[in-house]
Symmetry: C2
Subunit: 503 residues, 2 copies
C-alpha cells in the first residue's frame, strides 16, 4: 500500500519549500560574502520576493485541504514514522504561517535585508543613532508578527523564540539561565584574577601563516573541497546549502589568531551537522533542522569540547608551533591548554571564552525579551546594555560598536535567537556525556588527531536525523535526560580544575 | 487619473517575476563561480523549483483575467507609453508560458542544470560520448517545448530562437548570414596567408601581471567596486544581478593574455548595458533585456569597435608595455593595432578574431537548426561539426574538446542562442555608425583613454531603455535602418585596409 495521494502532493510542495529556504540562505550567503555593496537594495527585494513566494506556497488553502484529508490516515499510521513526522511538521508550519498576512511576511523579509546594511554602517561609525530607526522597525514588525498568534503564546517574545527553538518558552529559558548564572558567577569570581593571559594565539601572525594553519587543520576535521568551501566574512557563519554544498566562513585578525582558528572549528561543526543528514530526509519537511540550539550544540562541541580540550592541545601543539613562525608563546601542550582556558570577562561575545560567554547571552536574552515584550524602549537600549555589562561581567563598554552594535542578529530581525547559543552549550555538554559513554577512547583518539570516531558518533546519534526528533526527544534518546545546565556546569568546573585555575 | 487596479496588480507580479529571474541568474552565477562541485545535484533542484515558481506565477489564470480586463484601457492609451509597453510584454510572456506545461518547464530547468555538469566532465575528458545522452535529452526537451506552440512558428527551431531574439526567424537569420558569409569569405581568403602573428599578448605573462593589467584597465572603462565585481570562471560571462550589482568574470591563460584582457572588455560591455537601465524601469516587464543580440552588440562594441581600434592601440600601448614586464613584442601602437587585427582561422570560437568569428556562428546556427528540427541526429553531430569546420574555416578538428564540446550553450539547453552572437556583431557596427555621427571626436577621446563620451551615448541611446524597444524599433530610432550585415562588412573591410592587411 503506497502513501496517499494527498501526502505525495504535500511532500512535493515541501520539497519546493525546502529549495526556496536554501535559495534564501544562498542569497544571504552571497550578500555577506560576494555581493557588491550597492546591490543591497535590490537584494532586499529578492529576499522579500522569496519570502512572499514561500509564504504563498505554505499558506495555499490547498495545503490545508490536504492536511485535513490526511487526518484519519495519520491516526491509523505509526506516529514515529518519517511520513507522520513530516506531516506533523508541515501541519505545524502551516498553522503558524496562515496566521501571518503575506504583506507582513514580505515586510519583515525586506526590513531584515535592509536592516543588516544599516547595522553595518552604524557599526562602522560606532553610532547607535544611525541604526535606531531600522531597529525600531524590526521590533515593531516582530511585535506585529507575534500579535498574529494572540493567545497561543504567553507573551510576544515567546512567539519569536518558538521560531528558533520550537516549544521553548521564555519562562523555561529564564529558569535554566538562572541556575546556570548562579553556578557560574561564583566560579568565575574565584578564577577571574588569575595570572594566565590568553597569549598562545596572540600575534602578530601574518595572515598567510594563519591561512596555512587553518588549511592544515581542515582536512583532519573532515573538510573535503568537493563539498565544502571556506570564505572570509565580517561575521562568520557555517551551514549546508543543499546536499554536497557546505559553506563556512571565518575572519583573520593579524593580532589574534584564536579568532580564525577556533572560528573555523565552530563553523565546521555547523557545516558538518547541516551536511550530514540522511539523504532520504533531504528536501523533506524533517530534513531542515529547526532547532537553532541543537545546531549551536554541534558547533560548540567542535570549538570547545574538542578544540579547547587537553587532548586537542596535546595533538595540535607541535603543529601550531611549526605553522606559526612568528612565535607561539606556549612552551608545552599543557601551557597551551591552560591558555585556552583562561577566564577573562570581556566586551565582545564572539571573542569571549567559554566561562563568561554564557553571561553575554543572559544579557541579550533579558534585553531582547524586554524590548519585544514592550518593557524596554529602543532608545533605552544602549544604556541598559552598558549597565548590564557592568552588572554581569564587571566590564565598562567604551562605545556602541563594542557594545550594543556588536552582533547583527537584531539587525536581521532575529529576536529569540540569542538564548539558543547558551541552550546549545548546555546540549553540547549533555551530548558529550553520551560520547564519553559510547566512545571511551575519544580523548586518546583526539590526541592522535583522529576525529573520525567523533564524526561517526555524531552522524549516528544526531546528524543523520536532521529534524526528525525535537531537541527534547533527541536528548531523551541519546542521554535519557531533559535539557539541563548541570552537565555544562560540571564540564566547565572540571576543566578549570584540570587546567589548574580552580582548586 | 491613476493606473487601473488590474495594472498595479500585474506590475506587482511582474516585479516578483523580475526578482525570480535574477535569483535564477544568481544561482547560475554561484554554480559557475563559487559552488563546491558536489552541490550540482542540489542546485539543479533549486533551479527547477525557481523555474516552477516562475511558471506558476506567470501562468496563474488571474494574470489572464487581468490582461483581459485591461484590453479596453490599453486600446485607449498611448501605445508608446511604458505602461502599455509593459502590458504588451506581460501579454507576450503569458501567452508563450501558458502553452508550456509546468512539468516540462521544470524538467527543462533541471536538465539544463545537470547538463552543464555533464558537459564539463565530458569536455575535461574530451569525450563527446560522455555527454551524448545528456545532450539528446536537451534536444528532446527543446523539441517538446517547441511542440507546445504548434502552428505559431515555422519550425521547432524558430520557437526556441524566438526566446532569445523575439520575432526573429530562422529564415531571416539564414538570409543575413548568407549575405555576411558571401562578403567575408573572399576577404578572409585574401588576407588569410598574411605574415603577421597574433603575438602582442602572447605569454608567458605571469598571472599576477595579467591581473594587474586588468585592474589597471577596469577603472578607465567605468568599473566601480561599489557596484561591480570581477571573478574567474571557466566560461566568462557578464551581466546585472539587480540595480547596483554587476558581475563579470574572466579567465587567465599564462600563454595568452588577449583572452583575459579582451574578455574583460567584452564582459564589461554586457555588465554596463545590464547595469545602466533607467531605474524607473527596474523590476518592470520592460526592465529585463530580452534580446540576446542587443546584449551581445554592447559587449562586442567594447571588445572590438573600441578595444581593437587604432585609437585604443594608441592609448593602451605604452601602458601595456609597462604592465607586462615579461615582454610585449609589438614595437609601436600601429604594430599592436596590426596584431590585434590579424586573420587566422582557428578552432575555438571564443579565441577567434573578428574576421573569422562569424563563420563559427554560421556553423553553429546551421547545426543547431538541423538538430532541433530533427534533420540531424545527436550521433552525427561531432562528425558534422568537424566537416563544417573544414568547409567554412579550412581547419582540422583534432578532438571533441576543441570541437563540438567547446561551448556550454547546448549543455544548458540554449538552442537558438548562437545566432545572436553574429546578429549582435551586426548591430554593434550599425550602432557605431550612430556613435560616429553623434560623437565625431570619439576616436580622439579613446586615444586619450576617455570612455565617458561613449558610455553617455550608449546610456542615452541604448542602455537606459533596457527592453523598452524591440531591436527593430531601437535600430530604427537610432540609425533609421533595419537590421543589416552591411555596416559590419564595411567596418571589417575598412579595418583590414587601415591595418595594411588588405589592399
Amino acid at each position: 500500500m503506497g502513501e496517499p495521494r494527498e501526502l505525495s502532493e504535500l511532500l512535493t510542495q515541501a520539497a519546493q519549500l525546502a529549495d526556496l529556504e536554501i535559495v534564501a540562505y544562498l542569497l544571504d550567503w552571497d550578500q555577506e560574502t560576494t555581493m557588491p555593496p550597492h546591490g543591497a537594495a535590490a537584494r532586499a527585494n529578492h529576499l522579500a520576493t522569496i519570502a512572499t513566494v514561500r509564504h504563498e506556497k505554505l499558506t495555499n488553502p490547498q495545503i490545508g485541504r490536504w492536511l485535513d484529508a490526511l487526518e484519519s490516515w495519520e491516526d491509523g499510521s505509526d506516529p514515529d514514522s518519517d511520513e507522520v513526522r513530516s506531516l506533523r511538521r508541515i501541519r505545524r508550519d502551516y498553522r503558524k504561517a496562515v496566521e501571518v498576512p503575506a504583506k507582513l511576511a514580505a515586510e519583515r523579509a525586506h526590513a531584515q535585508a535592509t536592516g543588516v546594511e544599516s547595522w553595518r554602517l552604524a557599526r562602522e561609525a560606532s553610532d547607535f543613532g544611525m541604526y535606531r530607526d531600522s531597529l525600531a522597525l524590526q521590533i515593531e514588525l516582530a511585535r506585529q508578527y507575534a500579535d498574529c498568534f494572540s493567545g497561543q503564546f504567553e507573551a510576544p517574545y515567546d512567539a519569536v523564540l518558538d521560531d528558533f527553538e520550537p516549544g521553548m518558552t521564555a519562562e523555561l529559558v529564564s529558569e535554566l539561565f538562572t541556575e546556570l548564572q548562579e553556578a557560574l558567577v561564583p566560579v568565575i569570581a574565584q578564577t577571574k584574577s588569575d595570572h594566565f593571559e590568553r597569549s598562545a594565539f596572540r600575534g602578530p601572525h601574518e595572515l598567510a601563516d594563519q591561512e596555512r594553519a587553518v588549511k592544515w587543520l581542515l582536512p583532519f576535521l573532515g573538510f573535503d573541497p568537493g563539498s565544502w568551501r571556506l570564505d572570509v566574512t565580517t561575521h562568520p557563519f557555517g551551514g549546508s546549502y543543499g546536499l554536497g554544498d557546505i559553506r563556512i566562513s571565518t575572519r583573520y585578525d593579524r593580532m589574534y589568531f584564536e579568532d580564525a582558528f577556533y572560528g573555523v572549528l565552530h563553523e565546521f561543526g555547523h557545516g558538518l551537522y547541516g551536511g550530514s543528514l540522511d539523504p532520504k530526509l533531504d528536501r523533506t519537511p524533517i530534513g531542515s533542522i529547526n532547532s537553532a540550539a541543537m545546531h549551536e550544540s554541534q558547533s560548540r562541541t567542535w570549538e570547545n569540547l574538542v578544540g579547547r580540550s587537553r587532548a586537542f592541545a596535546e595533538w595540535s601543539f607541535p603543529h601550531l608551533k611549526r605553522l606559526l613562525p612568528n612565535g607561539f608563546p606556549a612552551q608545552n601542550p599543557y601551557e597551551l591548554f591552560q591558555e585556552l582556558n583562561s577566564v577573562q570577562p570581556s566586551l565582545i561575545r564572539v571573542d569571549a571564552e567559554e566561562y563568561t560567554y554564557n553571561l553575554h547571552l543572559v544579557l541579550r536574552f533579558e534585553l531582547e525579551r524586554a524590548i519585544v515584550n514592550g518593557e524596554l524602549s529602543v532608545d533605552e537600549l544602549p544604556a541598559k546594555w552598558n549597565e548590564e555589562m557592568m552588572r554581569l561581567l564587571g566590564v565598562e563598554v567604551p562605545n556602541d560598536a563594542q557594545g550594543v552594535l556588536q552582533d547583527p542578529h537584531w539587525a536581521g530581525g532575529a529576536f529569540g535567537y540569542f538564548p539558543t547559543y547558551t541552550i546549545g552549550n548546555m546540549i553540547s555538554a549533555q551530548l558529550w556525556e553520551g560520547v564519553e559513554r559510547d566512545v571511551p577512547e575519544i580523548h586518546s583518539e583526539i590526541e592522535k588527531g583522529n576525529f573520525a570516531p567523533l564524526r561517526e558518533w555524531q552522524r549516528d546519534n544526531v546528524h543523520q536525523h536532521a529534524a526528525r526528533y525535537s531537541t527534547k526527544e533527541l536528548l531523551d534518546r541519546v542521554v535519557g535526560e531533559p535539557l539541563s545546565p548541570k552537565p555544562l556546569i560540571n564540564y566547565l568546573t572540571a576543566k578549570l580544575k584540570e587546567s589548574g585555575r580552580l582548586t
